[in-house]
Each structure stands twice: as C-alpha cells, then as structure tokens.
C-alpha cells in the first residue's frame, strides 16, 4: 500500500504537466495542478504511512543492464518524500496564481511540465534502491530543473545561470556515476540496499570523496555552490522554492545514505564534513549579506543552511566514530530536522519574496520598501520565514539548531581531542552564523517591507491572491507548529535514525523537546498579548511623519538601504567577500549628479572557476593548429600514428 501510493505519486506528478499539454490551453493549468495535487497527496499519505510503519522494500525485474526496479521506503526516504510532496504541492498551487497562462503565455505550460518532472525525478531517486534507477531519477530531476532555471531564456543572465547550473550538475552526475561504479566494484551489484561496508579500506575513502563531491555539488556546499545563487535567483519563485526547499536536499539525502553505508566512519570524515559545514554556513551567510538581489540573498542562505545541516551530520559522524550514540542522535536528528525546517521556511521565504517581486516587478532590494502596508499578509509570511531561518525561538529553525548545538556542546565536553575541537570551534561558529543571519534577514525584511517605498513601482503594489497566500500561510503555520511542538516530529526522526543505523534511542531522550512547547507557547502568547496591547494604544494615538532630526526635505531614497545596512559587515569581512565599489571622486564644492555602485561578486565562480575555464579554454584552443586545414599535415598524422603504434605496441 505504502509503496503503491508512492509509485502512483511518482507517476502522477511526472505526467501532470505533460498531460496538460494534451488538453486545451484554457484547462491546462487546472489539469496539471489537479493531477500533481492528487499525486502529491497520495505520495504524502504514503510517506506518512511509511513513517508510522516498517520500512518497505520491493523489487521488480527491469530489462536494463545492471538495473532493477527496486524500491526502498524506510524512515529516511519517507522523511524526504514527505518533504518533496508537501512543498511541491504547495508550490504548484502557488504557481496557479503566480505563473498563470495569462501572465506567462510563453512559459507557463513548459514550467508546469518540467515542474512535475522535477518532482517525479526527486521522489524516484529517493525511493529507489538501485543505482541505475537512482541515476535516472537524479538526472530527470537535474535536467528538468535546468529547463526550469532557464525558463526566461531570452534574458542572457538567466541563460547564463542555466548554463552554469547545467555544467555543474553534469560534473556532479559524472562523480555520481564514478561513485556507483566504484561501489558496484566493491559490492558486486548496483543495489543500494547493501550490507555495512568496512570504512578502513582505501576504496572506502574514494567512495566517500566521490559521494561528497557528487552530492555536495547538488547540495551547494561551499565551494561547490557556484551554480546555486544564479539558479535560484533566476528561476520562477515557486521553482526556486522547490529547488531550494527540496532539490538541493537530494544532495543531503545522498550524503546521508553514502555515509550510512559504513559502520564506523573514520574520525576525519566527520571532521571534514563538519568543517565543510562550518565553511558553508559562515561563508554562505556572509555572501548573503552582501547581495542586492532578494532572491540571490535567499539563495546564499541555502548555502548557509546546507552548512548547518552538514554540521549536524558531521557531529553525527563523529558520534559514530567514537561510539557515542547520543552524539549521533543529536547530530543526525538535528541535520534531518533542519532539512525539513529549511525546506519549509526557505520555501516560505521564496514564495513570499516571489509575491513581493511579482507585485513590484523587481528583485532589487534597494528599489523596494514599505511593501508591508499594501501587502500585510506577504510581509507577515516573510517575517515568519525570516525569524525561522535565523533559528530564533519559538519557530522551527530553533529546534533543529538546538539539536546541533546540543551535539556540539556534548562534543565539547567529551574527552577525545577531536570531539572537543569540534565543539569548541563548531558552536561559536554556529553562533556567528546565527547572528549574521539575524543581521541579514532583518536587513532584507526591513528594506523590502518596512519604511517607505523607494520607487513608484513599490508604492503601487497590491496583495497577492489566495492561491499564492494559501501556500504561504500553510508553510508559516508549519514553521510555528514544529517550533512550538517539536515532539510532533520526534517519532519521524526516530524512524529515520533507525534506518541509517541508529540504535533506536529516541530523540526525546537526548534533547528537551517537550520543554520547548512549555516555553514557546507562553512566549508566543505573552508576545501576542503585548503587541496587541501596544497596537491598540497606537491606534488611539496621534500619527506624524518620522522624526527627521530637523531636516525638512527628507525623501524615501534617503532611507537606510540594504547596502548601507550591510556596509560595516561587508567591510569587516572584505578579505573573503572582495566587494567591488565604484565611488565618484567628489572634489568640487558643488559636485554634479553622480553614481555610487557596490557589488559583492560570486567570488568562487568569478575569481576561481571562470578564470580556470578561460585558461583551459585558451590552452585547448592552442591545439587548434593541429586542425588547420592542411591535408598534408593530416597525412603526416596518420603516418605518425602508424609508426608510433607499430613501435610501441609490438
């Protein structure tokens, strides 16, 4: 039953958009969305069943070399499946309002088709227990997502973003192929449901490295994140939500699966994952602060949150390495819960950002402002997402970060040196990340939704319709629900931990989850009472313009912009961020009108990858003389090949 529901969901979501191509345009959106919703509901039901029952395994023969239609839905898979289906469904509903045929006659059908395919690809790979099947799901997801990223292919920026994504994802896929082929040479089959491997063999290290590269690229681990900002920024917002919310998590899923193949991973594996996590988290949030593009900013936060997830995973691996089950539980539960949480609040943020961008027609933060008066629901949703992503209580982000923190603290207090180092470095790093995230999101929220509108376009916005607000509200409620009642999700986490080699120790025994309800609920209540009290006082009071310190000619453009807000932090970390500024030199007493421009580039892509490509391209181009049109030279090649081959191979 469970598996059938999920297979039905894969099939329905996959064909949803294609089916819609067969019906008249007017009904396309309805058919596609309805099919996808039915599929997603079935899938979500299946995932919930799987989270409550035993792991499901089933295999059918498949006439493909090395392939088998073999499926496995255990706790871990079910967790990811549930996330996929919920967010895909909400995104699809949102898409009805956001990306309708009327507004996007050229693209709407295409986007629906590939949206469904992406969803199906993801759920297929998660449910599969065979490498070939996994790769099929993986690449369907990756290529469909490429089509989604380059939806607006007439815009060169979007096209470039699509290309960067396409090239990166292929490099990842090739690593993945190497990984599975190597795994097969160890286990003798393409089955992914394999008995525990010995981590001490050299081949295991290679496996781990390949998995980390392949899945890390998809997850967007620093410095493999190069494709991510452009892709998330340029895709339609519900696609960004799907990609950032669940697609990059497929990388996490892969890493978790890869690591759990081994009984006791060496200490340095955990250390490496933790370090990568710290690097991603810190650098991700730093780059986010420097962005002017709202969706790019959110994209960098995906890098950050992937970092936090990896930190949890690193802690879990260290726990494994030292045989500390509690540490494993804390780290793994933190990582997995954060995977869910990030999916929820990042989707919420992208959807609400999309709503704002849709209304105002620009992604430039410094051209927005004051939207919350016209779009209170969107603003509220964004605020909930922002608080959640900063990991602040009493929302869901805090719960998962707390688990990671508890793991780090436990590590810090433990005897072995590596654990102590992990905790002593990890916890303050996470604190730094938290504070940076607050700075970044208060900036984004403030600059976009608060204050006065900076442009006319931002002044004349209006609130989105129910199709868009509904999914946002649902996600916001989920943020609060998991934040205030984390015990609700604890059984799912327990189930998932068992499927990756946990001993069955419940998360609740390792962390004070139920206490969070007793703190969170009153906190929310008191804050609500206080704010309502203050707001009622406000309604009864006088209103005047903001105090302008006596300067009478203030304009909306004199507000503190997001760039100015971030200026000090960007300056503090300029060694990494390498901000570019072009400031006019003002030397006259009455200077003419002028421009100031600042920009934080994608350092890894612009300073490392792109130059490497240029140099390599030039080096390869220097081989061009070989094929310069001279048939005489070509004859020489044949002769040389003949003579050399005769001499070498005899």
């Amino acid at each position: 039953m469970t598996l059938h529901l999920i297979l039905l969901a894969i099939a329905l979501t996959g064909v949803s958009g294609l089916l819609a191509l067969l019906v008249p345009r007017a009904h396309g959106a309805r058919v596609a969305t309805a099919t996808l919703l039915v599929g997603a509901t079935a899938g979500a039901a299946g995932a919930v069943l799987a989270l409550r029952g035993e792991a499901v395994r089933r295999a059918w023969p498949w006439a493909v070399p090395g392939g088998a239609l073999s499926f496995r839905v255990d706790g871990l898979a079910a967790m990811f499946l549930l996330q996929i289906f919920v967010i895909a469904a909400l995104g699809a509903i949102y898409g009805v309002g956001y990306f309708s045929d009327e507004q996007q006659p050229q693209h709407a059908r295409k986007v629906r088709a590939f949206y469904g395919l992406t969803t199906a690809g993801m759920s297929l790979l998660v449910a599969s227990a065979n490498a070939v099947l996994f790769l099929v799901g993986w690449e369907v997801m990756a290529l469909a997502a490429f089509m989604l990223v380059s939806t607006d292919d007439e815009d060169p920026v979007a096209r470039h973003a699509g290309l960067v994504y396409l090239l990166s994802t292929r490099v990842g896929t090739l690593c993945l192929i190497a990984y599975f082929a190597l795994l097969r040479s160890v286990t003798g089959s393409f089955s992914l449901d394999v008995a525990a491997l010995d981590a001490a063999r050299p081949v295991s290290t290679a496996l781990f490295a390949l998995a980390l590269a392949a899945f890390g690229l998809k997850a967007g681990v620093m410095p493999l994140h190069i494709w991510l900002p452009g892709a998330h920024a340029n895709a339609p917002s519900h696609v960004s939500a799907l990609m950032s919310g669940v697609l990059i998590k497929m990388g996490i899923y892969g890493i978790v699966r890869a690591v759990s193949l081994f009984v006791a991973p060496p200490v340095w594996w955990g250390g490496l994952v933790l370090s990568l996590g710290i690097a991603s988290a810190v650098l991700g949030v730093l780059f986010a602060i420097g962005q002017h593009d709202l969706k790019r900013l959110l994209a960098y936060h995906s890098v950050e949150n992937i970092g936090i997830i990896l930190m949890g995973l690193g802690v879990a691996m260290l726990g494994r390495a030292f045989g500390d089950e509690t540490l494993f539980v804390l780290g793994a539960a933190g990582a997995l819960l954060h995977t869910w949480n990030h999916g929820i609040f990042k989707a919420l943020l992208f959807l609400s950002a999309g709503s704002a961008v849709h209304a105002a027609g620009t992604r430039e933060i410094d051209r927005l402002g004051g939207l919350s008066k016209k779009m209170p629901a969107t603003a509220g949703a964004f605020a909930v997402g922002a608080i959640a992503i900063c990991g602040l209580p009493p929302l869901n982000g805090f719960v998962s970060e707390l688990l990671v923190y508890l793991g780090l603290a436990r590590a810090c207090a433990a005897t072995p040196g590596p654990l102590f180092a992990a905790g002593a470095i990890g916890a303050p790093a996470l604190a730094l990340v938290g504070a940076l995230a607050v700075a970044c999101f208060v900036k984004a929220y403030g600059a976009v939704f608060l204050g006065e509108p900076r442009t006319e376009a931002a002044r004349h916005v209006h609130e989105s319709g129910p199709a868009m607000l509904g999914p946002m509200a649902t996600l916001a409620v989920l943020c609060v629900l998991i934040g205030v009642g984390p015990v609700l999700v604890a059984p799912a986490l327990d189930r998932a931990l068992v499927s990756i080699g946990g001993s069955g120790a419940p998360v609740r025994s390792a962390a004070p989850l139920s206490l969070l309800t007793w703190i969170g609920a009153p906190l929310l209540f008191v804050i609500a009472i206080g704010v309502i009290w203050a707001y009622r006082r406000r309604v009864a009071s006088r209103a005047q313009p903001t105090w302008d310190c006596g300067y009478a000619a203030g304009t909306a453009r004199m507000q503190y912009t997001s760039s100015s807000f971030a200026e000090i932090i960007v300056g503090l970390f300029s060694t990494v961020l390498r901000p570019e500024r072009s400031a006019p030199k003002i030397d006259a007493l009455f200077p003419a009108a002028s421009h100031f421009h600042s920009h934080v580039p994608e350092v890894v892509l612009d300073r490392a990858i792109a130059p490497t490509f240029r140099v390599t391209g030039r080096a390869l181009a220097s081989l061009r003389w070989m094929q310069r049109g001279s048939v005489h030279l070509y004859v020489v090649y044949v002769f040389a090949a003949l003579v050399l081959a005769l001499l070498v191979f005899r």
Partner: protein
C-alpha cells in the same frame, strides 16, 4: 619463387626514388605507370606460370600501367599544369627521406619472420619502403595530381605484399582490389577536375578553408 624477383623489387625501389626526385608531372606519372607494370611482371615471377597469376598480371598491367596513368594525364591536360612547385620538402631532401624510409623498412622487416618460400627476399622491405614513399609524396607535394600519384605509389607498396600472397588472396578479391583502386583514382580525377574548376588551381595547400 624465381630468382628474378629480387631484381624486379629493386627496380620498384628505384622507381620510388625516381618518382620522388622529379618535379615534372609527366615523369611522376610515367614512373608510377612503370611501377604498376613492373608489379604485373612481379606477379608472374612470384607464382611462375599459374593461370591465376597470368590473369592478375594482365589486370595489373592494364589498370596500373595503362588506365590509371591515363586518367592522371587527362587531369593534367585539363588543368594544364606540368610541374610540381615548391614541395614542402624539396627534391634532394625527399630523396634522402626515401633512402631513410627504405633503410627503416629493412630494419623493421628484420623483425618479421618470413615464410619459407620467401626467405631472403626483399618482398617485405620493398613493400614497406614503397608505402613509406607513398606517404612522403602525399604529405609533401602540393599538386592534387601528384598526390593522387602518391596514393598510387602507396597502393603499389601494398600490392607488392599482395603479390607475395596471391594464394591467400584469391583472384576475385585481387581483381576487386584493383577495380576499387581504379575507381578511387577515377573519383579522385573527377574531384581534381572540379577542384580545378572551382579554385582555378590544383594547389592542395590552398584547400585549407575548412579548419579550426
């Protein structure tokens, strides 16, 4: 196997030098034609007297000694050119190169053990040296006609060995091979004709528009 085989093979080798050493296209074509005819004789000598060898010899002399040179001469007339100009390797160095190729062929042939009936013969080195000469002409001469002639030399080199293997290559194949070669030269002739018309030149060094 007749004792006259080796002198004939030496003639083949000498013709290599002749073809490489001259700039006049007439001389090149004549050299190639003579080489072809000599191969026909060779076939007779190697398998003295069998019907098969007579037929092959006749076919060879007809095709390689008469028809192919005719085609080339016609192309030459159409294009009204007489001399090869500025080869990529000049004539004297070319002669030296052929000498080196011949030496190398002898050295390489020592590695290949011969069948009892061929022990001591020049069959293999002569074949390889002629193939090498063919490559040299193909790679260094500018005129399409010279290149076509070089291709025939290359084929002649292959044929030297083929003659030694007449039993292994029954008549049908042998003639098929000859016919194919003929058609190849024929097609080349057509192309040469068209090239000449389109480019107003037969300098293949000018055929370098297609490149990276």
């Amino acid at each position: 196997m007749s004792s006259a085989v080796d002198p004939v093979l030496v003639l083949v080798l000498l013709l290599n030098f002749y073809v490489v050493g001259t700039s006049r296209l007439h001389a090149v074509i004549n050299g190639v034609a003579l080489q072809g005819a000599v191969l026909g004789v060779l076939a007779l000598l190697v398998h003295s007297g069998s019907v098969l060898s007579v037929l092959v010899a006749l076919a060879t002399i007809l095709l390689k000694g008469l028809l192919m040179p005719m085609m080339l001469r016609r192309a030459m007339r159409e294009a009204s050119i007489r001399r090869e100009v500025e080869p990529f390797i000049d004539y004297v160095p070319s002669l030296l190169a052929v000498a080196v190729a011949t030496g190398a062929s002898f050295a390489f042939a020592r590695r290949l053990p011969l069948a009892p009936q061929h022990v001591g013969s020049l069959l293999v080195p002569a074949s390889l040296a002629t193939v090498g000469t063919g490559f040299l002409v193909l790679a260094t001469r500018r005129k399409a006609i010279t290149q076509a002639a070089g291709y025939v030399v290359l084929e002649n080199g292959v044929f030297v060995l083929g003659v030694g293997l007449l039993e292994a290559m029954p008549f049908l194949v042998e003639v098929g091979v000859l016919l194919d070669l003929f058609v190849a030269i024929f097609v080349m002739g057509i192309i040469i004709y068209q090239v000449n018309r389109e480019f107003a030149s037969l300098d293949t060094a000018r055929l370098s528009n297609l490149k990276e």
